[in-house]
Symmetry: C2
Subunit: 410 residues, 2 copies
Amino acid sequence: MDFESKVSDLAKGIKSSIIRELLKYASEPGFISFGGGVPDPETFPRKELAEIAREVVEKEYRFALQYGTTEGDPLLKAQYIKYLERWEGLKDLKEKNLLITVGSQQALDLIGRTFLDSESIIAISQPAYLGAVSAFKMRNPRFLTIPLSDDGMETEILEKKLRSLTAAELKKFKFVYTVPNFHNPAGVTLTLERRKHLLELAERYDFFVVEDDPYGALRFEGEHIPSVFKLGGMDRVVLLNTFSKVLSPGLRIGLVIAHESVISKLVKVKQGVDLCSPSLTQRIAARYMERYDMLERLRKTLAIYREKKDVMMKAFEEHLSDLDAHWTRPKGGLFSWVVLPEGFDTLEMLELGKEYKILWIPGAAFHVDGSGQNTMRVSFCLPSKEEIEEGVRRIRKVVEAYKSSKVISR
Amino acid sequence: MDFESKVSDLAKGIKSSIIRELLKYASEPGFISFGGGVPDPETFPRKELAEIAREVVEKEYRFALQYGTTEGDPLLKAQYIKYLERWEGLKDLKEKNLLITVGSQQALDLIGRTFLDSESIIAISQPAYLGAVSAFKMRNPRFLTIPLSDDGMETEILEKKLRSLTAAELKKFKFVYTVPNFHNPAGVTLTLERRKHLLELAERYDFFVVEDDPYGALRFEGEHIPSVFKLGGMDRVVLLNTFSKVLSPGLRIGLVIAHESVISKLVKVKQGVDLCSPSLTQRIAARYMERYDMLERLRKTLAIYREKKDVMMKAFEEHLSDLDAHWTRPKGGLFSWVVLPEGFDTLEMLELGKEYKILWIPGAAFHVDGSGQNTMRVSFCLPSKEEIEEGVRRIRKVVEAYKSSKVISR
């Protein structure tokens, strides 16, 4: 039969992820990929996790192989509460303030379904994390897009946009979504001042903040800045965390830390979504946290990321600085963001990228309104230092080839 | 802040699952629970899975601890295609015809989002599987409810209801959802004749069938009936399977087997829902299937389920047959369904159930329209044979106590 004729409006509206498509060809030999935001598998503590996996299945099978609660493994929650206290200085968190999800992507989807209708309005940065946009778009809200500077989301512009909303619109305004640390895709970090300003606005205009923090623990330079959650508390902030960048993405464990009234609403939606997350992966993570210091073990990885970032910055300086291009200088995380002069189209340039065997993610993918043609996301975590140097050299070659094919006048 | 004021219409419409709430108190000592549809953890092949888990993490960490594709582990798909060929006689299935989900609950949710709008119409049995109803309800469709007999969904009534739809309504009619084998909650099986009739109707009225088959492999009596998918093919049928009842629910692995045009649509939605399922659990299942015959190993469990079912049937005969009650006689699966005389309310009776320390699931929970007050779902898979006998005795006591409290006149 013609299944097409049966498809919902929601599904009709979804485009396939460009990143997924791009990453497929980047695995060809000789290719250098600045594309994916995935950790180096050699950094996973595989021996420790292997032993824990065996033990958990054999000894805790009554839990680990059985259905769990929708809320998640209480042991993992207990470990994570300790972790948040130590790392973020968060006190008085209880089990009921945590929900364990299938990666933070599921948390974003649950938040979308729990809080958004097609009438709703939310604010996101531009560029914004693609996964969040996909999740929220399924609820069809209106987006206010707020530009980013090196200091993160420009809260002054957010304020202006909020001020221009009517009372009726403000009532439909639900939340601001922010990736405060080492932003995906832009690599920038929201300053303390702007975090405070964001919370002031939340109070004044009565909305909440969805703080998505997958990269906060990946700081390799500078001082830790208190989370928006720490500054604003659970009455104003819903915090999302994940194990994907600090332990292993293959476990697919995300967490929501929030007021119990938020958690209970998300739980009701999650019941219909997947009943519960896998018990096995949750218990493995719990036992790992019990035995090892997750962040201590991350230090070596972060030192490597920092070196790689430095190599990339130096290569940009060398190969792009005469171009009127600029780029962000991340103090953590996985990404830098390159802005080429107007007239370049990094999506169109991918054809040349294929030829020169270099991949980046075109920045337009991170723009709700499809702008940002001259931008690109580049990740430095996975390629070797040599590959980073060579990759930036190839980007320069692509730029030249594109210029001569397009006769870009500058 | 008042998060309540920010909640979506979707989330407002969700009630918490009564089963979840009920199962909480059933863990008290002395309680006998006919409630959950969960396998006995002692039947899980924990030694084999423990060894495989260790190996997979240690040797296949590059896959098992890393992000996977949204579609799922190709190795697991390859194993499952062999399994379907052997078990269901399904030929010519390709990798692109399979999607791996987080339990079949996620498959139901993805199907709801991919095919249903608030205008849509679907048909389900009454009673129906609660999880499917929750997933579909989030899309707010109109339900046609079709009664069940001992031969499964009454397709004659489905036909009548379809005939009464206008052309405009028929255009919005998307699919029939059915649990053909050992129905949850009713325990009945759709006969071959009715499967064929259902497919005739699907052709005539141009809809598809969602065949949810978590229990098909749990037959302990009688002959295997070809699946609706086998009879109708992927042009008319979307088949859902799961590892929850045949290997372990804690892995949370479900599968969709369907036409590639359906799979590709579901994949696009799943991208926004959780990016991908856990790689670790998928690879563990794949290696398990490679080394062991999952169904061969299930035989002992099924022999036990059969004995338990027989004990329950005998106890019903002994304790309920003078009551004008009736119940289904399942040939597989986990559940029987008891219909008490009119006037009984099995939800109200739960208070007495608590007193007598016996739990069932009130049948009204499985009725979209809230009817079915005099029905209950009882599971025989988890309690011991002695507990089953004693549990049915307690149900009789509750019936008596309820009768005298209510002065039900019969």
